[in-house]
Amino acid sequence: MSIKDKKYEARIQKHFGKYPDKRSAVMALLYIAQEEYGWVSPEAIQEVADLCEMDPTQVKSIAGFYTMYSEKPKGKYWLQVCTDLPCALKGADEFHKELKAYLGVEEGGTTDDGLFTVEHVMCLAACDKAPMLQCNFHYMENLDMEKMKAFVEEKRAELEQQTSKK
C-alpha cells in the first residue's frame, strides 16, 4: 500500500504539471492518499509530504483544516447528512437523529460491521430535495427512514453474501 506505487504515478505527475510548485498539489495528493488508505493515516501524510517536498507537520495541518480529509478510518459507506437550515426546515435534524439511532452510532461514529459512518454536514446544494445526504459523494435525496432502512438492509445483505462466498 503506497501512493508511490506505479499505478498512481501518471495521476500524480498530472497534478504536479498544473502548478508552478509542488506544494500546490498537496490537496490533490491527499485525496489520492485517502483513496488508497481509506483515510489520511500517518503513512499517507508522510508519503504526501515526501512527494510534495513538504514537512509532514505542514501536511497534517492542511489535512486537519479541511473537513473532507478523514483523520480516522471510516465505514464503507460514508453518510453525510445535511442538517443546514433549509434542510432543517424540512425535518433534516429529526431524520439525522433517527438515522443515528437506527444504526446505533453517535455523531461521526461507525457501525460495528464497518459499513456505515454517519456525520452531519453543511449545505450540499440540494436543499429542494431535503432530507438528503451524500453517500460517498453520491446524492441521495427526498429521503425518509423507510428508504434508509431499505438501503441499510440492502448493503448489509450484500456484505453477508460476500462473506459467505469467501
Binding site: 490537496m27 485525496y31 437550515l85 424540512k90 453543511m122 446544494a125 440540494a126 436543499c127 429542494d128 459523494f137
Partner: protein, 543 residues
Amino acid sequence: MSLYNDLRTSAELQREQEDGHRHCLRICRAAGCLSQHNDSITRALQDQVHGQGLENEVQVKGVGCMGLCAAGPLVSVSTHEGESVLYQHVSEADAPEIVAALDSEPVTRLQLDTSTPFFTRQYKIVLENSGIIDPDNIEEYVAADGYRALNTVLSEMTPADVIREVTISGLRGRGGGGYSTGLKWSTVAKAAGDLKYVICNADEGDPGAFMDRSVLESDPHRVLEGMAIAGYAIGAQKGFIYIRAEYPLAVERLKTAIRAAEKKNLLGDNILDTEFDFDIEIRLGAGAFVCGEETALMASIEGKRGQPRPRPPYPADYGLWGKPTLVNNVETYANITPIIRNGGEWFADIGTDNSKGTKVFALAGQIRNTGLIEVPMGITLREIIYDIGGGTPQGTALKAIQSGGPSGGCIPVEHIDSPVDYESLTRLGSFMGSGGMIVIDETADMVEIAKYFMEFCMTESCGKCIPCRVGTAHMYRLLDKIVRGQAAQSDLDLLEELCDLTRNTSLCGLGQASPNAVISTLRYFRHEYTARLIPEFAEEGER
C-alpha cells in the same frame, strides 16, 4: 475565421439530423433529478422507441436542469414544429404511454401546465440552454450559438473593446459582493506583469444556494467560454476553476467539457488559429466554506490552509502566487457570452438602474415550487415567492425570506413588495448574496433561525482571527441560552455588543457578516427575543 465556421457547420449539420427526427424527448440529467432514477426512465423511453422501430423519428436525450425540480423527474416532448409538452413526476412505467401519445393527444395525467407564471415570469439568460442542450455534447452548445462570442472577441475585438462592452453592460459580480465586473477586469488588465491568472469561484457554499452547481451541470461550456474571454481581456493564459469536491457530477461535466473544447481548439494553444493561448484546470476544494472568500481560495490553490488574509493588496494586484489575478463567480462568467453576443447595451436595458440583467435564485425552505429560477433584477419579492414560487406549501402564513446566505438577513413579510436589487436588499438589512432564498413560514422561530446561521459561521470560521473565532462561539452560546429561556436582558445587551464588535474587527467577510442574521432578526422580530427573557434576579437564583 474558417475554423469557427467549420465547427459551426458541423454542429449545424448535427442539428439538422436531429431536426430530421419528428420528436425529441428530453430527460433532465442534473444531479437533482438523476437521483430520482432518471437513467432507468431514459432506458425505458429508449426501449419503447426502439421496440416500435421509431429510432429515425424520435430522439431521446439527456439535458441539464429544467428548473422545476419539485415536479421531477421531468420529461419534455417537443415536435419538429417546436411545440412542446412537459411531463412531471415521470416513472419508468409511464414510458409506453408517453411514446404512444407522440402523434396524438398528450398524456394529461402527467402534463405540467406551462402557462403559469413559474414559466412565463422568468427571463432566461444564464439558464438559456439549461434543460435544452445535452451538457456533455459540445456540438449542441456550438449549434446554440456557443463559442461565437469567443470567435468574435478573438477575430474582431481588442482586449479594451471587450472590457468596454462588459463595462457598458453594467454587470456586477454574482458571487455576493456585487462589485462591477467591468471595473474589476480593467484593473487586472492594467496591473503590471506578463503572467496573470483567471479564477472561477465555484465554491458555492451558502446554505440554500444551488445555482452554480446547476449552471455547471447543465451548461458547462458557457462558463469555460466566459473564462476564455476574460483571459483574453485581461491578458492571462491560464485559468483555474475552484470547485467544491461535493459536486462530483459538475466536476465530471466540466472535465468532459474541457477535453472537448481542447480537441476543437477552443481551449489550449493558438485558439481558433489565433495567437491566443488559454488553458483551464480544475481544482477541488475539500469542505471549507471560507475558501469561497477570494484570498482564502487562492491560499488553498497554493496548497495552504484556506485562510483569508487582509486586503489590500487585492487579488487584482497580488493574487495567485503573487501574480495579478481575476476572481469571478460562476454566474458572472455565465453572463459574459450573451453580453458579447448581444452587446452591453442590450444587457443594460434589463433590470434596474444599478442592478442590470437577471439573477438566478434558488428557492428553498417552505415554498411550493422549490428549485431554480432566473428573473430580471427589480422584480418584487412577492412575484418571486407567490407568482413564481407558488407560496408556502401548506398554505401557512409567510413570515420572512432569508437571502444572502450566512452573510445575509431575514426580510419580514411586510416588505414583500420590495424590488429585488443589490441596494434594496441591503437597505432592508439583508444582502443579494449569491442567490439563495430561504422561505420561512409562521411555524418558524426566528431566534432559532439566527442560532442556525451563527452555528454555521462558528463551524466555518477558519480560526485565524480572534474576533471571528471567539465572537461567533460566544454569540452562539448566548443565542442558545435565549432559546432555552435562560437568558436575561443583560445577555441580550451583551449579544448586541458582540454583534458590533465582531462586525467591526473581523478579518474577512465571514466574520464581519456573521452577526447579520442576529441583527436583522432583532430589527424585525425583537419581540421573539424579549418574550423569552427572564428577569435578572431569577437568573441569579437559578445559578
